[in-house]
Symmetry: C2
Subunit: 683 residues, 2 copies
């Protein structure tokens, strides 16, 4: 339960009206000088705190926070790690809202630092005082021109509509200055560092309410509390688009831990969870800046499959854009008759009039071609590329107009001498348009718009559906029959079978079941039945069955010997479906294709649980070998719906059964109309 002042104090921290610097100094080489110096543009009140008093950098200095005589919103602690506990206690006593600890020497530095950090966390939790850091280069809030940071170049940061939230504060300022190159300033830029108290989720919730922020650039390394981040994003992204860069595609754990003191966790899970929560994920810092700048300029309404119109003055650039868009799975729809005819009338023959529309060297009809393209009902946004040729094409004279007329995003890209292009790009950006300097960047901006619209469409799908009525508790140590009976109760079908206590029962079961059958040993003592010789397939006649029972009886067991006799399932497509409790994200649900190759290439996808059938269907679309589900080389297509239903049913299990850490159906065999769980394991 958070402290009642917690949210109000976070706002005082990040959007303060008054700032004190504890440890303020008049020696320019001291952190306490630099922190104060950085506040010179700040539009609020500034209070240096130094036991000696006097005047520092033109401000009257106070002997203590209490001596200021009013509760300051933000305290910057320019004191060493060891002195922070006392200083924070003083700030809490003085009724301050929050603090910033810039110095390192906490959890990232070893055991003693971790203790200091824990103590600071405890102080915050008890009092509702909010702390940013430690181990961060600080933050800026441009609404009040606050720069609570020592970073070089801070005075050149410009105000704008993108907020940057990062775990690593180096990336915070890197991305901030990248945004500036794209003509986009920042509203806030916050590096959370060790995130003792204020983490990225807190900052996201603050930004959701921040009037100056239109889009958010998020950078994630480790996520100790992934479920909390997921929930924060689910509430933020419908209001404000979020682009996210997640570190750790490769195994960088050792280096990352030294950097943040946290485990990195599964990259796939992080990325999938962020997407599930409506964020658009990107791969590099530059793409993060570009995506956030794009989303600050435009946002498409939620849509399952938005269409992009592509207009190009150079065929080669058109090919690059088409390659990018198709590679990202974004639709470049064929134009309707109206648009196609209009464009054909505007352009000379020999040009490519579909989508992309290639005008060849742009002429005077170019703006009208764009109007016709954007007017097509299948086109939700349009990208326009042309080499810089001001004599024939001046995008600043028509792009904004087309955007206004159509109400659809139009984005522009160009190439040419930098000094000549700059004014054109600047003019477009001043109009609130996205403009960039390569066909691939332009295509990627469109991809970001499409992915945001798709993510919001998915987020709006109903998440939970009526739960099943399984009341029986599952636990580790269930034998195969009990596990399958548990699945039956979940509504996930398993093959007809009989658990038998004696050979006589087994033979009776054999006679009753459809042939051929499978005979298996049923004992908690046997972990890997197949390896132990405990599985006999394809038993069609009683003689073979008896021989199989003989073989099962030869397996040495300490306890009771039981048999599972089961109808052998027909051939189908095999999948693996698993529910797993993740330390950071809580319950998750995974699906992949079965078989060693799928396993070797890790062809699986994961979501935070629970998921609906619609979400489960979307998971199947992400499998690289998913074409196997749709009938491969003449085999019949299997039911994606039946698979999705099983995924959705299994996805509720961990929340309902706190005793289970993991349950995996392997294989789930899929058929044209149904699925069968052939084996499962509970942990």
């Amino acid at each position: 339960m958070p402290h009642p002042q917690s949210i109000a104090n976070l706002k005082r921290l990040l959007a303060p009206a008054s700032v004190a610097v504890v440890g303020a100094s008049s020696s320019p080489d001291k952190a306490g000088y630099q922190a104060l110096h950085a506040l010179q543009r700040f539009r609020g009140d500034v209070y240096p705190v130094n036991p000696k008093g006097g005047e520092i950098l033109g401000y009257e200095a106070f002997a203590s926070l209490a001596a200021i005589g009013r509760p300051v919103d933000l305290v910057i602690f320019a004191v060493p790690a060891a002195a922070c506990i006392a200083a924070v206690q003083e700030a809490i006593m003085a009724g301050c809202g929050g603090g910033l600890i810039v110095s390192g020497g906490f959890a990232e530095s070893g055991e003693h630092g971790a203790e200091l950090q824990d103590e600071l966390g405890r102080l915050c939790g008890e009092s509702g005082f909010r702390l940013l850091g430690p181990n961060t280069a600080g933050f800026v809030n441009m609404a009040s021109l606050l720069s609570a940071t020592f970073v070089a170049g801070r005075e050149r940061i410009e105000a704008g509509q993108v907020a940057v939230v990062t775990q690593s504060s180096g990336i915070n300022f890197l991305v901030t200055f990248m945004l500036q190159r794209l003509g986009m300033g920042v509203s806030c830029a916050v590096g959370v560092g060790n995130a003792i108290d204020t983490d990225v989720s807190d900052v996201l919730e603050f930004l959701a309410e921040d009037e100056d922020t239109r889009a958010i650039a998020l950078h994630i390394e480790a996520i100790p509390n992934g479920r909390r981040l997921y929930e924060a994003l689910c509430s933020v992204t419908p209001r404000k688009p979020v682009a996210a860069l997640v570190i750790g595609r490769e195994d960088v754990g050792d280096f990352a831990r030294s950097h943040t003191g946290n485990l990195v966790g599964s990259y796939e899970l992080k990325v999938n969870a962020l997407r599930q929560a409506g964020a658009v994920t990107v791969d590099t810092a530059e793409e993060l800046a570009a995506a956030a700048a794009t989303l600050a300029a435009y946002r498409l309404p939620p849509k399952r499959d938005p269409g992009i119109g592509v207009l190009t003055g150079q065929g080669g650039a058109g090919l690059i854009m088409l390659d990018e868009l198709k590679g990202a799975g974004v639709s470049v729809p064929t134009l309707g008759t109206t648009a196609a005819e209009r464009i054909a009338a505007l352009l000379p023959p020999m040009t490519y009039l579909k989508n992309p529309v290639d005008t060849a060297r742009p002429g005077p009809t170019f703006p009208d071609v764009l109007r016709a393209l954007v007017g097509d009902p299948g086109v939700d946004a349009a990208i326009v590329f042309a080499l810089h040729e001001p004599a024939t094409l001046r995008p600043e004279e028509f792009m904004q107009e087309v955007r206004r007329e159509s109400g659809k995003p139009v984005l522009f890209g160009s190439g040419g001498p930098e000094s000549e292009i700059r004014p054109t790009l600047a003019a477009l950006r001043a109009d609130g348009l996205y403009a960039c300097e390569s066909p691939e960047r332009l295509a990627r901006a469109a991809i970001v718009l499409a992915k945001d619209a798709q993510a919001q469409w998915q987020l709006a799908l109903p998440t939970t559906e009526a739960r099943h009525g399984a009341t029986q508790a599952a636990h580790k140590g269930l034998d195969e029959h009990e596990t399958k009976t548990f699945l039956d109760a979940l509504g996930i079908a398993t093959p007809p079978r009989s658990a038998c206590n004696s050979r006589a029962e087994a033979v009776e079961a054999f006679r009753a079941l459809r042939k051929p059958v499978v005979a298996k040993i049923l004992s908690a003592e046997i972990g890997h039945k197949t390896e132990a010789g405990g599985v006999h397939l394809g038993l069609a006649d009683e003689a073979s069955f008896e021989r199989a029972l003989d073989a099962l009886d030869a397996i040495p067991l300490r306890g009771d010997r039981r048999y599972l006799v089961e109808e052998m399932a027909n051939d189908g497509v095999e999948l693996i479906v698993g529910a797993l409790r993740d330390a950071s994200f809580g319950s998750t649900i995974m699906v992949g294709l079965g078989g060693t190759i799928a396993e070797a290439i890790k062809d699986t996808t994961t979501r935070l649980a629970p998921v609906s059938e619609a979400q489960a269907l979307a998971m199947l679309d992400e499998l690289r070998a998913g074409a196997l589900l749709d009938g491969w080389r003449g085999s019949p297509a299997v039911s994606r719906g039946a698979i999705a239903e099983s995924i959705a049913r299994l996805s509720h299990v961990l929340d309902e059964q706190p005793g289970i850490r993991e349950i995996e159906i392997n294989p789930l065999r899929a058929y044209a109309d149904n699925v069968l769980a052939l084996d499962a394991l509970v942990a």
Copy 2:
């Protein structure tokens, strides 16, 4: 057989001492005016040609090419498509070297244009006259400040060390100006357009000899003569590094054809062939410019696995770089004791002293840390990232020195306010260093250096090995036994078997072979034996064998009924190996893992044939599910060497057997010590 003047005339075309403009005009809106106007910086002789004579733009105009009185090197044809034939004939008569046709209206525009184009091609072939275009925006050669182009901004193109060669001339100038943003000018920039006579291969060969060119940026859409390009690159890349952007990752064929008039062909084949020839392939136009700029600044010696040292002032940036490097499979080696101890002595505790080396906020020891890092014998090149902080770090004061001392590439990346960073980057670039503005770009530059060194290492591997002595000709219509016998002759093992003309022979074969056996129908009438019920596996006793023969006898056949009795192969890992003749690249060799999932995700790789065993081993490294070869879940590792030997052997087949279009071994089953070809198809 090319015309004897062909190469000399290509040099006259691309590096002319004199230029004539046919169709020169004094009307500024005419192409003949613009072409002449573009030549104002040209250091050679300029001759306008216009039947009216007089003076144009200050030059004396001549009534015809002949009237100039000397054979001009390059003729720019500023006349419509229909007038080009006569104009080119005149140029040939006048002894000119080559010509540029800027206008479109040729093959890309339909049948009549294609005829014109063919006629021009014929004129060139007969005379040795060289033609660039048509359908190109032209080219520049900065050695003589020649700009044979109308493109806007051409007067701002700066001289430098990268040559640009593109199919699409829009991309030519796009990349040229991108290079300029990276502080790198061009030696030449050539767009070949429809490439009627001069194609990218010709230009590459010209550039290999061009003194001003240190690295080449190549852009490829369609490759009508892939084998020729491959051979040109094989001879060029050891002398000059080539970065290549290949269009068509996705299906863009329809649009591409409209653009170039050519089929796009397989993207994978193009990329693999270019890499095989020693080029470094990239994914975007910006990456192409960056890669070429990097390779113009540095080149590593050929090496199988070069190591990159990473030094960062910000941990977050270090993680981004590590992610990129690992994702590209480039080594970031652990430092040796000497370097590690030296660095530990230079940095405070708590910093990360492995590789990457994270100094935290850079201090005065930073240059010496770099020296220690670069001094490590495992480090072939080092990348250095730090946010711009001139008060504590001035890379322009030590980077060049470290490069000189160590003889190793050192590259720098930074972030911060653009106006502040620019002078630093410019100073580094003026010193011939690569410098960029993001950690990911920096890492990608290192990846380019590593990939170039790897590609050259691979290129230097012996290509062909002693051929086998198979003299028998293979052809379509061989039955399974004949095809396997053909494979045996190639030295690719197949299971012991017997082709039997009667049941009696089959039973005899059964008795002689190791059990279990496989019985198959042997008839050219049956395409898919399994579907026809013509394959019976696991026959261990004579009764089962007889039953199988009964079943084979029940298959209706018009012709002779024969049987193949074969020892059944043990379980192993299945692969597909195929040799296929490609229309553009000639004979190719492919390998992939077997099974539907591998097929569904297209987990294959291809090379131009023939390949050596060493090259074949490198192919296996590219398979995504290649881990299955190394022992999966307890199964034994299979022999990569034996697989590679089979690939190498099969790769010679198409060159030796002109009658075969395709031969595919499916499956090739691999074991710990050997392989067995279990089935094969000849087409």
